[in-house]
Structure formats: C-alpha cells, structure tokens
C-alpha cells in the first residue's frame, strides 16, 4: 500500500510556527508519510543560510517571546531545523523553495538556503502535489 501523503504550504518564517511545523513533521515521520513542503515568502527568509540559526522572531503572543523561547530550551525542544532534519531522515520529505519567495530574499539557487532545501520550484508543482495529498496544511 502506498504511503499517505502530506503537503505543507509553509509561509511563516517565525520560530513559533516553524517549531509547530516540526512537531507535525515528526508525526508524519512516525507514520511513514510522504511529505512535500513548499517554502513560501517569509519561510524562505528563515531557510536562508545566514538566517536559519539566528532568526528568533515569533509571530504570536510576542510579548511572551522570552518565556516561550526559554520554555523550548527547558523542554529540550530541538531547533526547528533539527526537527525538519529528523523527519527527513525518517521518511520521504522533500523541501521545495518557491522561486518567487527565493528572489524576494535574494536567494536564487538551492545553495543559498540551508541544506534541508531540495530544490527551487514553481507553484504548479505545489498544486499538483496538493491535489494528490491526503492532508494539506498551510502554516
């Protein structure tokens, strides 16, 4: 039987939502789902090599940012990049950078982004993949 498929339109470049995406990816990995992630606009900023590990922006409950980030450390929560990497190691996860988003942040080649990125693609590829998915999420 073919694996179930999850597509994720990842728009957010903030660590709170990226961490949540990492948790969901963990669940998908545990169930051997195939995953296609499309990195859109602000998420492409977070995937840039120079930003991934230093970006600590949060998009929700911003007045509690310090408490939130401290709690992630207290709970031994892996950095979102590590959560994504673990999922890639455990199941079939492909990460596609939206070509437009890449250009917005001056990244035109996969090498401009962290090594989790597999390629740069257009929206048509996302639409085709999402049509075939069992679960489609936007974060």
């Amino acid at each position: 039987m073919a694996n179930k498929k999850l597509t994720l339109a990842l728009f957010s470049g903030s660590v709170d939502k990226l961490t949540a995406a990492g948790v969901i990816l963990g669940g998908a990995a545990a169930e051997d789902m195939d995953v296609d992630i499309f990195v859109l606009l602000q998420a492409a900023f977070a995937f840039k090599k120079e930003n991934a590990m230093v970006n600590d922006r949060v998009s929700e409950i911003t007045d509690k940012k310090d408490e939130f980030l401290a709690s992630l450390k207290r709970l031994n929560t892996p950095h979102w990049t590590e959560a994504f990497r673990t999922a890639k190691e455990m199941t079939n996860v492909k990460i596609h950078i939206c070509g437009f988003a890449g250009k917005v942040w001056h990244g035109e080649k996969p090498d401009d982004f962290i090594d989790l990125a597999d390629d740069i693609c257009g929206i048509g590829e996302y639409m085709t993949s999402a049509e075939e998915a069992d679960i489609n999420l936007f974060i």
Partner: protein
C-alpha cells in the same frame, strides 16, 4: 493486559524518552522498532502525557500490538509487541 501481566512482561527493548516532549517519544519508538524482531516486546518510557494516547494509535496504524500502559512516578511505561 492488566497491571500484573504488564509488570511480568519480558521486555526485549526499552526506550527511555523521558527527556523529550512530543513528538520525541513517538519518534524514539519509531527508531527503536526497527531494532527488534516481529513478536518481540518493547517498552517506551515517556513523561509526555500525549504519548500514552499516541503510541496505541500508532500501533494500530502500523500493525503492532499495543499491550498496555503502566503509570509510574512521573512517567508512563508503554508496552507494545512488534
């Protein structure tokens, strides 16, 4: 299985995931299940409340047998058979 039966089980593989939060214990179980043979028993130690619900559902989806959970001081022992 009841508490006595779970306590008496011979465990072939023990996974201590008490230092991680969701989805850490589930992923630890996923990694470890590949290290045991069909018919062998694994226990997952988790202090994460969600794991006690996740593991039985995961077992059902993946074709493993969920045997039961023991509640210890501050953590759970979750048993399954591959």
């Amino acid at each position: 299985m009841n508490t006595e039966e779970l306590t008496a089980l011979t465990v072939d593989k023990s996974v201590d995931a008490r230092g991680t939060s969701c989805p850490g214990p589930l992923l630890a179980a996923k990694k470890a299940i590949g290290q045991i043979e069909k018919g062998q028993v694994m226990e997952v130690l988790s202090a994460d409340e969600g794991t006690r619900r996740d593991i039985p559902k995961w077992c059902t989806k993946k074709g493993y047998e969920y045997l039961g959970t023991l509640e210890e001081a501050g953590f759970y022992k979750i048993f399954l058979k591959k």
